[in-house]
Amino acid sequence: MFSTSRLASAEGTDPPGAVPAADPGTAPGAIVAGVRDPSGPSARRARQARRFAGHGWYRLISPLAVVGLWQLASSTGLLPASKLASPATIAHTAYNLVVTSSPTYGTLQASLLASFERWAIGFALGVAIGVLLAIVSGLSRVGEVVADPILQALRSVPLLGLIPLFIVWFGIGQLPKVLFVLLSALFPMYLNTFAGIRGVDSRLGELGIVLGLRKREIIRHIVLPGALPSALTGLQLSVVASLLALVVGEQINATSGLGFMITQAQQFLNNSVIMVSLIVYAIGGLLLDGAVRLLQRRALAWRRDFGQ
């Protein structure tokens, strides 16, 4: 079947980490025990279990079964096409959107690029500012007194509620959308990095003093690496929050992007285009999450639960 093979290939080309919860799913105890003695038989078993789970083709069985049932329900008329298009129709729509530029929607890749650009600018700036603010208020009392109360107060403002205000302030162009993504990436990054810096074991700070490290060296060798696990969790949350912000923000008077496709499709009651856009969002989310997991595994190799 055309639709299933397309979905399957999309899933299959994901990096192993992109399947959510693939790693936590393997018994963590086995990994911990295994890495302690990397040469032992239990280690080998744990590694095998890990590899098996990571490249777990069998994890595709149940999603594919759902898609198959969905197609069956559509083909038999149980699921009316006016409510939800069949997987085959959706795949066909996606194919058409890629190979032809429709006057209503443009091409899928152009929309994707426009959305990605919006997200990437907002996300990169949000994460950078978040980390910077966290370092400033994490490392200095003055910085904390100045920055932290403002950020804590702003964080409790529901971002979605800011949309009308953003339109008043910044109009309906690119700026409010990018800012919206930026803010949503900033807060998780700031909060987690700040908590990470403050949560570094004070006994390691003492060790730094005993070893005669200068303040700058303590920050470089102890504080910042110690905050990294928490900061990477922040990054993961920032990805999720910023994508959500993108999906919502993009549907406000957009003239390009996936959100624009969705609003257009809504007017033309074309639910298969909406589904295509949502699936593209989902695949993007999976890929980005996988990238962060890969980064975590590389950067946190020293942690037993991320071991070799």
Partner: protein
């Protein structure tokens, strides 16, 4: 490393004079800070709230001397060690430890995100920190674990890495804060031998804080008992090492130390 001579919390040079009130119970005569000592402490006081954990304590540690400091929990053993390590800024009195001073903590405190070799070399300001770290690791028998993450070490290995990190700084004073208390009995015996051999090779003065009387008797030149915020008791041990545990002198001294610690005779073991 610069010598450390501190008059803490404004208790100025005058402090040496104000504490010369004769001989303290079981302690040492107070005098000027001894210049040649590996560490010298006069009238050291540390309060936590109303309670003075250290109450005008005097102590001299001779160069190369191995001292074991015992005391009931809460008696201020670790407080004294932290003061000597320069980790406690709230102490008053006079303290001199003309460095370098190294510490091995109860938990090995290896930096988890640095491999063993990098842990040992951390903060080392010699020409070839890595080479020195490798030599130190070889001395503690940990060469093959140089590129391991600390999280993968056993308790004994981690303590050996911690010892290597302390020794690579060629300390004049080595502070050991119950470094063997979390190890199993067999590993502890191995570690005792290792510490003694490292000590005789490098000749630092050692202050070993422990709650284990037998450990103190096996290792130290002098056993100090901390009580009431002062050195309440001091026993030199002249027996050559390695010491046999059942030696009559040690058995007698053990009983005496346990009595000092407030464990009545007969209740011991």
């Amino acid at each position: 490393m610069a010598p450390r001579l501190r008059a803490v919390n404004g208790s100025a040079p005058a402090a040496a004079g104000t504490t010369s009130d004769g001989i303290r119970p079981g302690g040492l005569a107070t005098s000027e800070i001894s210049r040649g000592a590996a560490a010298s402490v006069r009238g050291l006081t540390r309060r936590f709230g109303d309670r003075a954990v250290l109450d005008g304590l005097d102590l001299d540690i001779a160069p190369g001397e191995f001292i074991a400091l015992i005391g009931r929990s809460g008696s201020g053993k670790s407080t004294l060690l932290r003061a000597l390590a320069g980790l406690d800024r709230e102490v008053t009195g006079e303290l001199s430890a003309p460095g370098p001073v190294s510490v091995a903590f109860q938990e090995p405190r290896l930096v988890p995100w640095k491999k063993v070799l990098a842990n040992v070399a951390l903060g080392l300001r010699t020409a070839d920190p890595e080479g020195a770290a490798r030599t130190a690791l070889a001395e503690v028998g940990l060469t093959e674990r140089a590129s391991a993450w600390p999280g993968t070490l056993s308790g004994g290995e981690a303590q050996r890495a911690s010892l290597a990190r302390a020794l690579v700084r060629e300390p004049r004073l080595l502070l050991l804060d119950e470094p063997f208390s979390a190890l199993d009995a067999l590993t502890r015996i191995t570690m005792h031998r290792l510490v003694l051999s490292l000590w005789s090779r490098h000749q630092p003065a050692v202050l070993l804080v422990t709650h284990d009387v037998d450990e103190a008797l096996a290792l130290a030149d002098r056993v100090l008992v901390l009580g009431e915020g002062l050195i309440a008791h001091s026993s030199p041990i002249t027996l050559p090492r390695p010491r046999v545990r059942g030696h009559p002198d040690l058995v007698a001294l053990r009983l005496q130390l346990l009595t000092e610690l407030g464990v009545p005779a007969g209740d011991a073991d």
